[in-house]
């Protein structure tokens, strides 16, 4: 399908494929240090601002396709944000973003000697328990700035998502940041990028589930015929292919979006991903019958991730509301002209700060 950056996708896929052939499938592999080292040597763990959003999405897609249980996507997001903000992260450090969930609140206060400390909480931080470093948006007065914290300074409540990937709640009490930087990038741009990366991983996982279902429908025989000969099953397969095609197309449109439409297109991609991956997971399990509902079968390594990724970095509902409010505002000429703005509007549009991408 569309791999955003085919070369990168191929290289990463080959690496994951070899690893997987050796390891068999598990919901969560034990931390695969050998693979992480290999990814580091290849430069995949330090992808940041030097790489395009298409590169990041290509890698995310490969992670989804192979259900790679490593924080590759989340470190990519954090490095990109850190580099934009001007925070330093060493090559060997594992870094993730905290404080992006709605309702998270981290407050910085400055004492008399000018030293800063941060207090607050951040919920469901991906891979926090595995990270060395966290970067987080912090409220200081009426400004938001990005801060770099040591993981060791933060209290944890470890938990997981539906696919058993680490998602930890953090309590931060008067922690002194190791570094504080700019307000840019805006929190909502980082969250949007996170949402897009989840949808891109989702495309990989969805393609896997579709291909697995097609293969199974061809191999499994009942009533003397392969399942793929039954029209009801064929229609399930088609609806799955439609789900993959529509999400893939929506993600692609967001990746290659003109700057002023990015947020809208990310919102649309996350909404479509939420809706269509729900259709796909239901049908993939239906086509697989009972065998697909077992822990031994690899299908759940993708479907369980999809069920969580649907909600991470904003649910479909939250993004739908966000999209509607972008389209429907007091002076808006109507939803259609906002979606398809006239040339004159496009040319004179003030995007504010140039949204990094």
């Amino acid at each position: 399908m569309i791999n955003f950056n085919d070369d990168l996708f191929e290289v990463a896929s080959k690496m994951f494929e070899r690893k997987q052939a050796a390891a068999r499938y598990h919901a969560v592999e034990p931390w695969a240090q050998d693979l992480w080292d290999q990814l580091r040597t290849s430069g995949f763990t330090t992808l940041g601002r030097d790489a395009t959003v298409a590169d990041h999405c290509a890698l995310a897609k490969a992670v989804g396709a192979y259900a790679v249980a490593l924080p590759l996507v989340d470190t990519g997001l954090a490095r990109w944000a850190a580099e934009h903000a001007g925070l330093s992260v060493a090559d060997e450090e594992i870094v993730v973003c905290a404080g992006l969930a709605l309702g998270d609140d981290l407050v910085g206060s400055v004492d008399a000697s000018g030293g800063m400390s941060i207090t607050g909480h951040a919920r469901r931080v991906p891979w926090a328990s595995r990270a060395d470093v966290l970067i987080a948006p912090v409220r200081i007065g009426d400004r938001v700035r990005w801060a770099r914290l040591r993981r060791a300074d933060v209290d944890f409540n470890e938990s997981v998502n539906l696919a058993s990937e680490p998602r930890d709640d953090l309590t931060i009490t008067a922690v002194v940041p190791t570094e504080v930087a700019d307000e840019a990038p805006r929190v909502k741009d980082v969250r949007a990028r996170g949402a897009l990366l989840r949808a891109a991983s989702g495309v990989g996982a969805m393609e896997f589930a579709l291909n697995a279902s097609l293969t199974y429908a061809e191999q499994r025989t009942q009533f003397g015929r392969p399942l793929s000969g039954f029209q009801a099953v064929q229609h399930h397969l088609v609806m799955m292919a439609e789900a993959v095609a529509s999400v893939s197309s929506a993600v692609d449109a967001a990746v290659f979006s003109p700057p002023e439409q990015r947020l809208m297109r990310v919102a649309a991609a996350k909404v479509i991903f939420g809706e269509q991956s729900a259709v796909l997971t239901r049908l993939a399990h239906q086509v697989h019958g009972a065998i697909g509902a077992t822990e031994e079968h690899p299908l759940h390594t993708r479907t369980r991730r999809l069920w969580s990724w649907q909600d991470e970095f904003g649910t479909a509902t939250q993004w739908a509301v966000e999209l509607a409010t972008q389209l429907v505002f007091a002076t808006s000429p109507g939803a259609w002209p906002v979606l398809t703005p006239p040339l004159t509007v496009l040319a004179s549009r003030d995007v504010g700060e140039t949204v990094p991408w």
Binding site: I2, L214, A217, A245, S248, A268, A320, A335
Partner: protein
């Protein structure tokens, strides 16, 4: 593999969109009633009006008096027209597919005769495919033409023929050789003059009472040789080759957009609550996605490809979505619909009543899924 690489409109294409938008705003300001997609009432005057602007037969080459523009230019024009509720029906069949069919399969004389008149909306076409006994199983048509001096004698019956009441010609699929081993062999398409002796057109009322389609009877109709499209026996190939054009366009997902726009205008004054925002947001996420899929196909048409499976996919998803959109509109309105209660309600009433046709016309969704499934399984076997 089924793919939809994304693409953006160029500045020239955007400028074209601006022109069409301004034209439609002006047209609407003159008090014309909004129409719902290809169910619109035919308005030959409107077709001629936009012909003069160069917006019909856009991709027909200049040598046939066309505008030598692209499939994407056509996409830009028609999506804007559909979103604005323009009465596009009269020229629709000729513009969307007959012109393409003639370009690909027609004889030189046929191209010279018909293409320039499509461009000026001086000739309108309709599609004589379905018959009482041949719906989804189109290749089983029984209408037949037998050889005679200088042409063919046509006998049989077509049904559900949209626009036969005003069209000049019906592109008529018929058997020109007796049925043999394969039903796909021995079919041809005739361009039948609907004013010819022996042709009878009688109306069938659609479920909202509108005169949209017809029965068409052929009783010993003489069709001259020069009106057999391309070569005899090539009919099935011709019909199936144009599906990428027929099925991928914005008419497959924009039918109710004019109502969404009106809703928006009504709604603007009020606050959107969370639930309404969510419903609208989900609706627009779908519109955005189908737009980019449909545009992707238009770009591929311009590159000389015929992505028929992708087109079937867009049509299946797009028309299901149109039905969902009607359901969402009803939830947003959350009241009884009065068909006589003003433009918005009249249109919504029409949409509710005619929505069942969206997933039937142009090949039912079940049949489309059959086409897609075949392709998926074939590709899988190739990989395996």
């Amino acid at each position: 593999m089924i793919t939809f690489p994304s693409s953006e409109l160029t500045d020239d294409e955007l400028a074209l969109r601006d022109q069409v938008r301004a034209f439609m705003a002006d047209y609407r300001a003159q008090g014309h009633r909004l129409q719902l997609g290809i169910n619109a009432e035919p308005d030959p005057e409107f077709s001629k009006l936009i012909s003069r602007r160069g917006w019909v037969g856009m991709s027909i080459p200049v040598e046939y008096s066309g505008h030598g523009r692209t499939a994407v230019d056509r996409f830009v024009v028609v999506e804007e027209m559909l979103a604005a509720g323009a009465p596009i029906s009269a020229h629709w069949v000729g513009d969307r597919q007959t012109a393409q069919m003639l370009l690909r399969f027609g004889t030189e004389a046929q191209k010279r005769r018909f293409l320039p008149r499509i461009v000026t909306s001086d000739v309108f076409f309709c599609l004589g495919m379905s018959e009482p006994e041949s719906g989804s199983d189109l290749a089983s048509v029984r209408t037949r033409a037998t050889r005679t001096d200088g042409g063919w004698i046509l006998n049989g019956q077509k049904v559900w023929t949209s626009g036969a009441q005003y069209a000049d010609y019906a592109v008529t699929l018929c058997r020109t050789e007796p049925l043999g081993q394969s039903k796909h062999v021995g079919l041809s398409q005739l361009l039948v003059d609907l004013k010819a002796d022996g042709v009878t057109v009688s109306p069938i009322r659609l479920l909202n009472g509108a005169h949209h389609f017809n029965e068409v009877f052929f009783d010993d109709v003489f069709v001259p040789d020069e009106l057999l499209l391309g070569k005899p026996g090539d009919g099935w190939h011709q019909v199936t080759s144009e599906l990428a054009h027929e099925r991928s366009g914005p008419d497959r997902f924009l039918s109710v957009m004019p109502i969404v726009q009106l809703l928006y205008e009504r709604q603007r004054a009020r606050d959107l609550d969370l639930e309404m925002s969510e419903m609208l947001g989900r609706l627009f996420a779908m519109y955005m996605t189908f737009r980019s899929m449909s545009l992707s196909i238009a770009r591929r048409l311009d590159a000389g490809e015929l992505p028929a499976v992708e087109a079937a996919l867009v049509k299946d998803m797009g028309t299901e979505f149109e039905n969902q959109a009607v359901a969402v509109l009803r939830r947003l309105v959350n009241a009884e619909i009065d068909p006589r209660g003003g433009e918005f309600e009249a249109l919504l009433a029409d949409a509710v009543i005619t929505a069942p046709t969206f997933t039937l016309r142009g090949g039912t969704n079940e049949v489309l899924r059959g086409v897609i499934a075949k392709d998926l399984i074939r590709n899988r076997r190739r990989v395996a």
